[in-house]
C-alpha cells in the first residue's frame, strides 16, 4: 500500500490530455469519432459547395447531397432491383472463389512440389484487369444458356470468382504453412500423420489469414461485379446504371447509383467485421 503511494508521488503528474489519451474506452471511442467528424466535415463542405470551388466543378457534375438523396428515394425500387443483381454476382463469386482458392491452398500445402507453380499462375490471374477478363468470359459463356440474363450472370460470377480465388489462395496458403516452428515439431514427435497435422494444426492456423483475404476480396468482389456489368450482355446492375446515366449526362442519377454502390460495400464490410469478431474470438 505504502509502496503504491510512493510511486504516485515520485511519478510525474499526468496532464489531462495524456490521461484521456491513455484511457481505454476513449481509445475505442476515438476510432469511431474521428472518421465520423471527418465525414461530417466532408458532408458540410459538399453541401455548402466548398468542394465544388476547390475542385473547380459545378453542382451539375457533383450534385448536392440532398438532390442525390431525393433521387434515391424516388427510384428506390429500381435501385433495389439493380442492387440485388449486383450483390448476387458479388456474393456467389466471392463464395465460389473463396472456396476454390482455399481448396487450392490446401492442395498446395499438402503437395507443395506440384502445386507451388499453380499458385503463382493464380496470382497472375488476379493481376489481369477486370476490363480485359469480362469481355472474354462474356464470349465464353454464350453456350451456357439460352437465357441471356442467366448466362450473363454466369460470366460475371466467373470473373469475380477468379479474382477472389487468387486472393484467398495466396493468403490461405500462408496460413496453412507459416506455422510456429515448435508446433510442427510437436506434431512430428507425436508421430501424427499428415492428415491429422492438417486438421488439427494447419486449418485452425489459417483462419485469421482467411479473414485477411476476405477483407480484401469482399470489396474487390463488389468492385469486380460492378465493372463486369459494364460489358455484360444483359443490362442490369448498379455499375451498368452508372455508365448508362453518365453517357446521357444524368449525373444526379449516376451519383445515386454510386452512393448505392458505396452502401453495398460498407454494409458488406460491416457484416464481414461482425463475422470476424465472432469467429476469431478465441484468438484474442
Amino acid at each position: 500500500m505504502e509502496y503504491e503511494v510512493k510511486l504516485k508521488k515520485v511519478g510525474r503528474k499526468k496532464t489531462l490530455r495524456q490521461r484521456i489519451k491513455e484511457n481505454k474506452s476513449w481509445q475505442n471511442l476515438s476510432t469511431f469519432i474521428w472518421p465520423l467528424v471527418f465525414g461530417l466535415i466532408m458532408i458540410g463542405l459538399w453541401q455548402k459547395e466548398v468542394l465544388h470551388s476547390w475542385f473547380h466543378t459545378d453542382t451539375f457534375t457533383l450534385p448536392l447531397l440532398n438532390k442525390i438523396g431525393g433521387i434515391m428515394g424516388d427510384i428506390h425500387e429500381k435501385l433495389l432491383e439493380n442492387t440485388i443483381s449486383t450483390v448476387q454476382v458479388a456474393f456467389w463469386g466471392l463464395l465460389i472463389g473463396s472456396l476454390l482458392g482455399y481448396l487450392i491452398a490446401v492442395f498446395v500445402a499438402i503437395f507443395p512440389k506440384v502445386g507451388k507453380g499453380g499458385l503463382s499462375v493464380i496470382g497472375a490471374f488476379a493481376s489481369v484487369p477486370v476490363v480485359a477478363m469480362a469481355p472474354v468470359f462474356n464470349n465464353w459463356t454464350k453456350d451456357v444458356s439460352t437465357d441471356a440474363g442467366f448466362r450473363s450472370m454466369v460470366s460475371k460470377i466467373i470473373v469475380v470468382t477468379l479474382i477472389c480465388a487468387a486472393d484467398m489462395g495466396l493468403n490461405a496458403y500462408r496460413g496453412l504453412t507459416e506455422i510456429k516452428p515448435y508446433s510442427e515439431d510437436l506434431m512430428a514427435i507425436y508421430a501424427a500423420p499428415k492428415r491429422v497435422t492438417l486438421w488439427k494444426l494447419r486449418l485452425p492456423n489459417s483462419v485469421p489469414y482467411v479473414f485477411t483475404a476476405l477483407k480484401v476480396s469482399v470489396p474487390a468482389s463488389i468492385m469486380t461485379a460492378i465493372v463486369s456489368e459494364y460489358f455484360a450482355e444483359y443490362i442490369t446492375g448498379v455499375g451498368r446504371q452508372i455508365r448508362e446515366n453518365i453517357v446521357l449526362a444524368q449525373y444526379s442519377t449516376a451519383w445515386a447509383y454510386i452512393a448505392t454502390a458505396c452502401l453495398i460495400g460498407v454494409v458488406a464490410y460491416i457484416i464481414l467485421m461482425v463475422l470476424q469478431s465472432i469467429c476469431l474470438k478465441r484468438y484474442h
Binding site: T57, D58, F60, T61, I71, D74, I75, K78, K113, V114, G115, K116, G117, G118, S120, V121, A124, F125, P135, V136, N138, N139, W140, K142, A148, F231, A232, E233, Y234, I235, R243, E244, N245, I246, V247, L248, A249, Q250, Y251, S252, T253, A256
Partner: protein, 372 residues
C-alpha cells in the same frame, strides 16, 4: 537441382494450359460461316415478321448507352416487348447467332459484317437488314453543338467554324476516297480499306434525308426530322431524375437548336472577325471517316482561311461524354446526337445544336435470312 527442375516443369505446364485456354477464346468459328452460306434464304419474310420472331426469342441486340431508342421505338411499333441484348463493340454476337437481329451502323458495323478485309466477317450480300429510315423510327445522329453562352459570346467564331467545317463536309461528300485517305493520315482507328468504305457510307448519310431525297444544303437543320427525333426521344427516354424528366418532356426544338449561326455561315463570303482564334471540337467516337468533314477542313486549310490559328480535333470513344466535355469548357464544339443533347439540356446543361450533319439515321438491324 532435381526439385527445381520439377517445379519449373510444373509451372510451365500449368502456365501453358492457362495460356492455351485463354487463346482459345479469340478464335472465330469458321464452320458457322460456311454452313450459313448454304442455308435456305428463299423464304421471303416481311420486316415485321423478322422483328417479331427475333423479339419473341429475346435476340434483338443494341449497344445501349443512348443508342437504343430507335430500336425501342421499332419494337413498340410492332407491339413487342421492349427489351434487348447488350451488344459489345464487335459483331461476334451476330456471328455466333446469339443475336439474331443485331444493331449496326451502315458506315461501320454493316461494313464489317459484309466485307472480308481485315477485321471483317465476310458475309457479303448473304445478310439483309432493316433500315430505321424505312420504318419511320429514324432519329437524327451526328450534329455540331456548343454551349449557348459560348455561341452568344463568340458568334463570329461559331459562324466561321461552321463555314469551314461545312466546306470540309461538302468536299468530303464529293470526294469520299480522298477524304478517307486524309482521315487515315490523321490517326485513324481503322484500316484504310474500312476507312474508304466508311467514307462512302457517311457521304450517303450526309447527302440524303430520311425519305431518301438528296440534300442540297449540307448541315441544314430540318425541323420535321428534328421534331420526329425529339418525339421518339420523349417517348422512350425516361430520366430517373424527376425534375430532369419533367424538363425533358417539355423541351421544344427552340430549346435545343439555333439556326442563326448556320444562316450566318451560309450568308457569309468567308470573311469573319473571329473572337477566339484557337478552338477545339470533341468527336463522339474514335477518329475515322464518321468525322471526315473536320479532317478535310483541317487538311485543306479551310479553318486557316477563315482566320483560325489552331483547330484541335479531340478523339472520343467508349465512355467519353461529349456533352459534358463541351459543357464544362474543356472543348468548344462537339459532335453528338440530338437525344443526348436534349437529355443533357434537360438535366441542366446549356447546350445548343448549330448544324445537323447526318440527315438520316445510320442505324440498321442486320440479320441472316436463313435464321428466319
Amino acid at each position: 537441382m532435381k526439385e527445381r527442375t520439377r517445379r519449373l516443369v510444373t509451372t510451365t505446364a500449368i502456365a501453358s494450359v492457362a495460356i492455351g485456354l485463354l487463346s482459345g477464346c479469340g478464335g472465330k468459328q469458321e464452320t458457322g460461316n460456311s454452313e450459313s452460306a448454304g442455308g435456305t434464304s428463299t423464304s421471303e419474310l416481311s420486316a415485321a415478321d423478322i422483328i417479331k420472331k427475333a423479339a419473341e426469342s429475346g435476340q434483338v441486340g443494341n449497344w445501349g448507352l443512348g443508342n437504343e431508342y430507335e430500336v425501342l421505338a421499332l419494337l413498340s411499333k410492332y407491339e413487342l416487348p421492349t427489351s434487348y441484348l447488350s451488344q459489345d463493340f464487335t459483331m461476334d454476337g451476330f456471328d455466333d447467332n446469339s443475336i439474331l437481329l443485331a444493331s449496326a451502323m451502315t458506315y461501320n458495323e454493316l461494313g464489317l459484317v459484309k466485307n472480308s478485309y481485315d477485321g471483317g466477317y465476310g458475309y457479303g450480300d448473304s445478310v439483309a437488314y432493316i433500315d430505321m429510315n424505312d420504318e419511320g423510327v429514324a432519329m437524327l445522329e451526328d450534329n455540331i453543338f456548343c454551349t449557348k453562352s459560348f455561341a452568344k459570346e463568340n458568334p463570329e467564331t461559331v459562324a466561321a467554324f461552321l463555314y469551314a467545317s461545312l466546306k470540309g463536309w461538302e468536299y468530303a461528300v464529293e470526294h469520299p476516297e480522298e477524304a478517307a485517305e486524309i482521315c487515315y493520315e490523321y490517326g485513324s482507328s481503322v484500316s484504310p480499306e474500312h476507312q474508304a468504305y466508311m467514307a462512302e457510307e457517311v457521304a450517303k448519310l450526309v447527302s440524303t434525308d430520311m425519305s431518301g431525297a438528296t440534300v442540297t444544303e449540307i448541315g441544314f437543320m430540318d425541323d420535321s426530322a428534328m421534331e420526329q427525333t425529339l418525339n421518339i426521344a420523349k417517348q422512350y427516354v425516361t430520366l430517373d431524375d424527376a425534375t430532369a424528366n419533367k424538363a425533358f418532356q417539355s423541351l421544344t426544338l427552340d430549346d435545343i437548336r439555333d439556326a442563326s449561326y448556320y444562316e450566318a455561315a451560309k450568308a457569309s463570303d468567308g470573311k469573319f472577325d473571329i473572337e477566339k482564334k484557337s478552338v477545339s471540337i470533341q468527336l463522339k467516337w474514335l477518329p475515322d471517316a464518321q468525322f471526315m468533314g473536320y479532317y478535310v477542313a483541317l487538311d485543306k486549310g479551310y479553318y486557316k482561311e477563315v482566320g483560325f490559328e489552331k483547330v484541335d480535333i479531340v478523339s472520343g470513344g467508349g465512355d467519353i461524354a461529349e456533352t459534358t466535355a463541351v459543357n464544362n469548357g474543356t472543348v468548344d464544339f462537339g459532335v453528338t446526337w440530338e437525344t443526348n443533347l436534349a437529355s443533357a439540356d434537360a438535366s441542366g446543361m446549356d447546350l445548343v445544336e448549330i448544324a445537323q450533319i447526318f440527315q438520316r439515321s445510320g442505324l440498321v438491324l442486320v440479320y441472316k435470312p436463313e435464321n428466319f
